[in-house]
Symmetry: C2
Subunit: 235 residues, 2 copies
Amino acid sequence: VTPLHRVGIEVVGLDADDTLWHSERDFAEVQHRYRALLAHYGAPDLIESVLLATERRNLIVFGYGVKGFMLSMIETAIEISGQRITGAEIHQIVELGRSLIERPLELLPGVHAAVEALSADYRVVLITKGDLIHQETKIAASGLGELFWRVEVVSEKNPTTYRRLLERLAVDPARFVMVGNSLQSDILPVLDIGGRAVHVPYEITWALDHGIAEAHHSYAVLESLADLQALLGTW
Amino acid sequence: VTPLHRVGIEVVGLDADDTLWHSERDFAEVQHRYRALLAHYGAPDLIESVLLATERRNLIVFGYGVKGFMLSMIETAIEISGQRITGAEIHQIVELGRSLIERPLELLPGVHAAVEALSADYRVVLITKGDLIHQETKIAASGLGELFWRVEVVSEKNPTTYRRLLERLAVDPARFVMVGNSLQSDILPVLDIGGRAVHVPYEITWALDHGIAEAHHSYAVLESLADLQALLGTW
C-alpha cells in the first residue's frame, strides 16, 4: 500500500503567526491600549486609521514585524498629537511594543501534535514574514524547531518569493502545499505558481489583509491545523 | 593544469555592510547629528556611552539593523532627557534613522569587478546580519544580486550559525572561506569551525566590534576586496 501522499504532496509549508501560535490577538490588545494612551489627542477611530495608513506606508521600508510596528506607533503618535506627544508617552509606547516581544508564546490548540505528525510523513518548512530575530525567538520558544526541515524567514510572500524559495529547495510546486491563515500571503500566491493551499483562518484578520478577493481560486479551508494530516491523506 | 582553487576553496562567503558597501560611515554621521540634536540634554560623550549601552542591551531583542538602531536612539533620548524630549525632537530622530535607509548605496572601490571575477571561479554566498528587508533593498541597489549563488541574512554570526548554514548548503568548511571586515562576525567564528577567513578592514570599526582579541588564530588580511581573487589563487 502506497500512502497517497507519496504520489502527491512531499513538502508542507506552514505559516507561523496566527497559524501555529497567537499573534494578531496580542497586536490587537496592544493597539487597544495604544488608543487609550493617546485618547486625549484624538478619537480612537482616527488613531486607528492614521496608524493603519502609517503602517501601510512604512511596509516598504520597515517590512513586517514588531520593530516596524513600534516605529509606526511612534510616528503616528507624533502626527496625531501635532508633535505635542511627551517623552513619557513615547516611553510608554516603546514599552507597549516591547511587551509584544517579551510576551510568552502560546501555541494554537492541537498544533504541537499536528506538526509532529506531519513531520513524520512530510518535509515541513516553516515560511514566515517578520523580524528575523523575533521569529527565531518564537520558533525556539515553540518547541517545534526540531520538527522543521527548513525555516525560511522572507521579507514578502508573493509568487516570486515562493517560486524562488521552492527552486532553491529543489521542490516541485505540484508537490507542495502551503498552509496558513492569510489568503494574501499563504494561499493566493502559492496557487499562482501551481502549488496547493490550505486556509486555516484565525479568529482575527489583520487589517492590511482585509478585502483580499478570493477570486476563482480553489483551495481547502480547515478550522484547525489538527485536521491537516487527514486532509492531505485524501489527496 | 588544475587551478589551485579546484583543490581548495569552492565557496566564498562575503559579508555585506562595510565589506561590499559603505555602512558604518553613515551610522557614524547620523550619530554625530544625533548627539548635536540632544546637546542641550547632555554631553556628547555621555550620549554616546548611553546609546552604546542601550544598543548592546537591545541586541538580543531587536537584533542588528537600522530599525533596532532607531528604537535605541529613541530610548536613549528619553533616558538622557529625563523624559523631557519633545515630540518634535523624536520626529527628528526618526527622520535621522530613515535617512540611513533612504541613502543611496555606495559600493566600496573595486567591489563590482572583484565579485564578478570571483563568481566566475567560485560559488559566492552573501552572508549578512541586519534587517531582512533593508539588506534585500541594498542587495538590489548594489547591482550584484545576480552574482551570488545564495544570499543568507542571519540573525547572528557565530560558530553555530555558520556551521548550520554550511550544513544546509552542503559545503565542507575546509572548502569555505569567509571574507569580511569584522573579526568578531566574519573571521573568528569561521576559523572556529574549520573554515578559512580573510579580513578586509573597513575605515571605521563599529563600537560593538571593538576589543575583540585576535588571539592565536591565523587568517589573511587584505586592504581591498580587489586583491582577493589573487590571494585565493595562491591557496
